[in-house]
């Protein structure tokens, strides 16, 4: 023997197959021989092994050694490349062994491993998955008794442990391959009793009986795949030291195999279920997890389960096999055709979907198996544990995981929605804005409830303050969003009106282009007043709530969010307050109930008059149902001409007659009164004489600065009949030139202004949304700087305008300080060169005793006496409280002045002419005593209040200065200086008089 093995060529691999005298060993040896190797099979010599060996010898260099000669063999062999120790084949022969057999087997393995260690051989110990599963069942299921000491289970366990120890100690190239139940055409018997019963039933009984629920798992493999797997796994070095399951990758339950048999064999009529067998042969463990599958190491199943079963039936039950074979062959062609057709019918999309769905289908299949397994394993104790687990998981989800998720996602989405809503609102897409607000409202509801669910976490971490502020923030946001929604809905009719408005008339034609009215929008707007009030109320609540939120307790990213939220709310609040008020009267002033008519006076401030400037042109505009029903513009001297032509004479007020020495009132002089309410009455009266029945609902006095402000929105406009564009810079020059050319009856100026007004109106109405803020700012600035004054008879409208100082009326509040009105009677435009400086000293001696000293300094900086410049011929009227006790008056030209009572005021009037390059000063001193009917100071609780309102005459320059110096008793302490400087017992300020000014001063007694 020694000589025989020593002759083996180096290129020939030497393999030893221990326990190889069986179909698996035979097949393995056969494959090795076919590859040209030397194979030595070690097994008990008997008739079966004898048959295999004689077969193998025909193929190649095969030897058979009985176990009794194993020791000698290992001594003889000079080299062993591979050792395949097919323990599984030994173990599956018996459930238990004698102690002698057990020790012998362990000894054989020990010898084999020693020689493998010596020869540096690659070793594959092939064991059984089924036995390993049973071992797990015994270990983990207390209902099962421990396996017998010399059982197959224990033997496998011992042999695997021994191999692993060798591997660990000597780094031997060994692996343990746990083999599934062998099936296929070359097996001699089925080692899994359940599978054996199934096949037996299917072949002999015509029905299949399943004992129990049929959920036991089976690890199956075709013998062809097993051989391929053993060889591949042994050859690979990466399997060194691994324990590998060599079986088909799919788990097969008894039930699924039964159904498979039902599909394969038409003769099987039914599946019947019987009681669970308690025989140890049938033990299986549902939670058993096999070692990693051989597929992880590159092995692939090549024979389908169906084919394996058919082959097995053919081998073991040839009769049944023949029947199945015939039946399967008959429809095969048809099936193939169908398969081909179906395959062709599948679209690329179908292919894609199928590919995507495949893993889910697999999961679903294995899932249902697992569910079935799971159900069968439930015990009352397990149900109890499971219930507790489910409850705890649910609580964790409800009170921690979901709220955290909801806060994060909800916060982000709310922020995004609000941002979008703001953008939509700015574009006047109120519907879209509203839908975004609804979304954010829903998100906030989620956040709110999530916050409640997380309250415990804030308490547990001692951050209740953060929680309180968080809830406050959410609460504020809810109100803010609700308010914004209300407001959006409420002003939607206004938005529709603005967007859809098309004037039926323009300044160039008397023929209406449309009969459309907008009453439905205005009516709806009026009805929405309550909704708007609610919206404002909600926003105010939100503002108050959010103001008290302590931003610093939040994480930095949230702080930014809160700041943005505050900004949104403040913006909304500042913008909506005027809208709320305007909407209350807007439908009425647009003629929703009845036709309304307004007089528009166009004034030239270069020639200063009481309400802002010399009246050059006028316009009449009427609204009905929101539509323009009358629109005309004309030179004011044409209107005066009608008075002369009709020999209409109206006596002017006495003050005017005395000052200007005129005997007839005319439209061009109708703004003698500084109060626009009186101007309206005068013009209404004059117009009624020209056109009987004329009624006015208000007067709008504007000057060219308004046109200039609008022109700056678009830089320039081209108007019909003009070759050059009109700009803010050249407007004054154009109008001055027209004045030079004007003679009563001609029509140059009016068409120019009409065309300009018409063009600007068209521009405003067709403005892009992004131009709205510019137009709005231009108009608000013009109102604040008194280039527009609007007096409306509508009481709500008047209150609103008067409170903002836009009404052009001399209200009671202006009695708190003297006001002066100038009237340029020099027929020039020198006002542009007149600089004003006002000084007001108020000495408060007591609550009811106040001394005033008022100085007006005028400087005419004109350098020429040539039109439009020249001396400033100026009639000044100082308006004082009716009960004022005048102490002294200085500065009037020729010291000539009149004092008279008019419209609730004491008026001091006289000429204060200022030649070019000179200055003149007017000084008036007066007192308010306890006897005065007007009391500038009031006492509220402990506070002494003084609301000082100064009046800026429309048309005066925005660079004119105003100095205020208030002296108060030493016994008073200032609570609110209203922006003034407080030095000792004086309050001082010096400002440029761009508009009216209001100082609300508060003291209390020390």
């Amino acid at each position: 023997m020694a000589s025989k093995y020593s002759e083996i060529k180096v290129s020939t691999t030497v393999s030893v197959v221990v326990h190889g005298g069986n179909p698996l060993g035979f097949k393995l040896a056969k494959t090795l021989l076919e590859q040209g190797g030397q194979v030595i099979i070690v097994d008990n010599f008997n008739s079966r092994s004898k048959g295999f060996v004689s077969e193998l010898k025909k193929i190649g260099n095969a030897d058979f050694i009985d176990f009794t000669g194993i020791e000698a063999l290992y001594k003889t062999l000079g080299r062993i490349d591979y050792i395949y120790y097919l323990l599984s084949e030994k173990l599956l022969e018996h459930d238990t062994f004698s102690s002698k057999d057990f020790l012998e087997e362990s000894n054989y393995l020990n010898q084999t491993l020693k020689v493998a260690q010596k020869n540096d051989s690659k070793v594959a110990l092939v064991t059984s998955i089924k036995l390993n599963e049973k071992l797990s069942a015994h270990i983990l299921n207390s209902n099962l008794s421990a396996p017998a000491p010399y059982s197959a289970i224990e033997l496998q366990k011992y042999c695997e442990t021994l191999t692993a120890e060798y591997r660990d100690k000597s780094k031997m190239n060994a692996r343990i391959i746990r083999l599934g139940t062998l099936l296929g055409s070359e097996i001699a018997e089925i080692t899994d009793p359940i599978i054996e019963d199934l096949l037996n039933d299917s072949s002999n009984k015509g029905f299949i009986t399943i004992y129990g629920e049929g959920l036991q798992l089976h690890y199956l493999i075709n013998i062809e795949d097993a051989i391929y797997g053993i060889l591949k796994l042994t050859f690979q070095n990466k399997t060194e030291g691994e324990v590998i399951s060599l079986t088909n990758q799919n788990d097969y339950t008894t039930l699924s195999l039964a159904y498979k048999l039902l599909e394969i064999n038409d003769d099987i009529s039914d599946i019947k279920f019987g009681p669970t067998k308690t025989d140890s042969k049938y033990i299986s463990y549902e939670h058993y997890i096999p070692a990693p599958n051989a597929s992880n190491f590159g092995w692939k199943q090549t024979v389908t389960l169906e084919q394996t079963i058919v082959d097995t039936i053919n081998k073991l039950y040839p009769k049944t096999g023949q029947i199945i074979k015939r039946k399967r062959e008959e429809p095969k062609k048809v099936e193939e055709e169908v398969v081909v057709k179906v395959k062709n019918v599948k679209t690329p999309l179908g292919e894609l979907l199928d590919t995507i769905a495949r893993p889910f289908k697999r999961i679903s299949r294995s899932g249902s198996n697992k569910v079935q397994k799971f159900k069968s394993s439930l015990t009352p104790l397990k149900i109890g544990y499971l219930s507790i687990g489910v409850v705890l998981t649910t609580l964790l989800f409800i009170f921690l995981l979901y709220p955290l998720f909801s806060l994060g996602l909800g916060g982000y989405l709310t922020y995004k929605s609000l941002d979008k809503a703001k953008d939509y609102a700015l574009e006047f897409k109120l519907d879209d804005a509203n839908s975004q607000l609804v979304k954010s409202e829903n998100y906030l509801t989620k956040i709110s409830s999530s916050l409640g669910q997380l309250k415990w976490a804030f308490q547990a971490t001692g951050t209740e303050e953060t929680y309180d502020n968080f809830t406050q923030l959410v609460f504020a946001s809810q109100y803010g969003i609700q308010g914004a929604r209300d407001i959006m809905t409420a002003i939607e009719p206004l938005s529709l009106y603005v967007q859809n408005f098309e004037p039926a008339l323009n300044f160039q034609t008397d023929l209406p282009s449309s009969s459309r009215e907008y009453r439905e929008y205005l009516t709806q707007l009026k009805q929405n007043r309550s909704l708007l009030q609610k919206g404002v109320y909600n926003v105010n609540i939100a503002s108050d709530l959010i103001e008290n939120v302590k931003v610093s307790v939040f994480p930095t990213p949230v702080q930014n969010y809160i700041i943005v939220l505050k900004e949104y709310n403040d913006q909304l609040k500042s913008q909506i307050d005027p809208v709320e008020k305007v909407i209350t009267f807007l439908p009425d002033v647009l003629g929703n109930e009845k036709r309304v008519r307004y007089l528009i006076l166009l004034q030239n401030p270069a020639e200063l008059r009481s309400t802002g400037g010399w009246l050059s042109s006028y316009a009449l505009i009427s609204f009905e149902g929101g539509q323009i029903r009358e629109l005309k513009v004309d030179d004011i001297y044409n209107l005066d001409g009608r008075l002369i032509n009709n020999d209409i004479k109206v006596l002017p007020p006495q003050s005017m007659r005395k000052a200007l020495e005129v005997e007839n009132f005319t439209f061009s002089l109708s703004n003698w009164e500084p109060d626009l309410q009186n101007v309206t009455a005068i013009n209404e009266s004059l117009m009624d004489k020209v056109d009987p029945g004329t009624e006015l609902d208000g007067t709008i006095a504007i000057d060219t600065e308004v046109l200039k402000a609008l022109l700056t929105v678009w830089d320039e406009v081209i108007i019909p009949g003009e070759t050059q564009p009109v700009t803010a810079d050249n407007l004054d020059e154009r109008i001055t030139n027209l004045h030079k050319q004007f003679t009563p009856g001609e029509s140059l100026k009016a068409p120019f202004l009409a065309n300009l007004a018409n063009t600007l109106l068209q521009r405003v109405l067709s403005a892009k949304v992004e131009d709205y803020p510019k137009i709005g700012t231009a108009m608000i600035d013009s109102l604040n700087s008194k280039h527009i004054n609007v007096y409306l008879k509508n009481l709500e409208a008047y209150d609103y305008l008067e409170q903002n100082g836009w009404a052009g009326t001399l209200g009671e509040k202006y009695k708190s300080a003297p006001l002066t009105i100038e009237w340029n009677w020099g027929a020039n435009k020198v006002n542009t060169k007149v600089e004003r400086s006002k000084t007001l000293n108020i000495d408060i001696l007591d609550i009811d005793k106040v001394d005033y000293t008022y100085q007006l300094v005028l400087r005419n900086s004109a350098t020429s006496k040539v039109y439009p410049l020249g001396d400033y011929t100026n009639y000044v009227r100082a308006y004082l409280p009716e009960s004022a006790q005048i102490k002294s008056i200085k500065g009037f030209t020729d010291t000539d002045y009149q004092i008279y009572l008019e419209n609730g005021y004491k008026v001091v009037g006289g000429w204060l002419n200022v030649p070019i390059q000179t200055s003149k000063t007017l000084e008036i001193k007066y007192s308010l005593t306890p006897e005065s009917t007007y009391k500038p100071l009031s006492v509220s609780n402990q506070d002494i209040e003084f609301v000082l309102s100064t009046f800026k005459q429309p048309g005066t320059g925005s660079e004119d200065t105003l100095s205020v110096n208030i002296t108060y008793p030493d016994t008073w302490a200032v609570i609110d200086p209203s922006g003034m400087d407080n030095v000792l017992n004086q309050l001082l300020t010096q400002i440029k008089e761009k508009s009216d000014n209001n100082f609300k001063l508060v003291w209390n007694r020390k």
Binding site: F397, Y402, F405, S406, G452, T471, F475, D486, S530
Partner: protein
């Protein structure tokens, strides 16, 4: 590896379920279910008029003359129209009142419609607020503004009072302003809600006869 897989699956599951819970409108669904909807659509509003009767309209449908109680309303925003019943045509304008009705709450409108857009009375409705320390909120808004608010006879503040935190219980609210008639009424502050109170005051009519007598 299996542990990582399990963790990923758990995280994904929590994520997916959270998204579902976040976006599925459970309340809307429940509010549509038979029987359960009765617990959802149980908001009530009572509308009364002081000194004069009004006809109540909701969505153009008349609910008759005051006093009117409308029950089983769904939560949401409602606009009620009150038309004063009078022989003098055109003397009183219709009033439109917008309020938000919250689930399981009762709202009250008690209003006398006067001429020139004037009215006297109060409107009460609840808005859900986050739960905080077992308190409720009270907000009082008045027309005209700056009226003085007394709660249980004690001076509270000048209106508007926004989200004033209060213990959940009944209170008596009195609103007064010089030159206007007082309005007094009971309210209930509820935990987890803000009670919105809108009060309208009538100007006190000038008695010409008394004045001339006085002179």
């Amino acid at each position: 590896m299996p542990n990582l897989k399990t963790a990923i699956i758990i995280i994904l599951a929590v994520f997916v379920i959270s998204i579902g819970v976040f976006f599925i409108p459970f309340d809307d669904i429940l509010a549509r279910l038979p029987y359960i909807s009765e617990f959802y659509n149980n908001t009530t509003i009572t509308i009364t008029s002081r000194n004069a009767k009004s006809e109540v309209f909701l969505d153009s449908k008349s609910y008759g003359e005051t006093p009117v109680t409308i029950s089983d309303l769904k939560p949401g925003r409602y606009t009620f129209k009150l038309t004063r019943i009078t022989d003098v045509s055109g003397a009183y304008e219709d009033r439109y009142i917008d309020i938000d009705l919250e689930r399981n709450t009762e709202a009250v409108i008690d209003l006398e419609i006067g001429p020139n857009n004037l009215s006297s009375g109060y409107i009460l409705y609840y808005t859900k607020s986050p739960v905080s320390n077992g308190k409720g909120y009270l907000s009082v808004n008045t027309d005209p503004a700056d009226a003085t608010v007394y709660i249980d006879g004690e001076y509270a503040d000048k209106a508007p009072i926004n989200a004033y935190m209060a213990n959940p219980k009944s209170y008596s609210v009195k609103v007064s302003k010089t030159g206007y008639e007082n309005v007094e009424f009971p309210v209930i502050v509820r935990e987890g809600y803000n009670l919105n109170v809108k009060v309208n005051l009538f100007p006190i009519p000038i008695n010409i006869e008394e004045q001339s007598n006085g002179e």
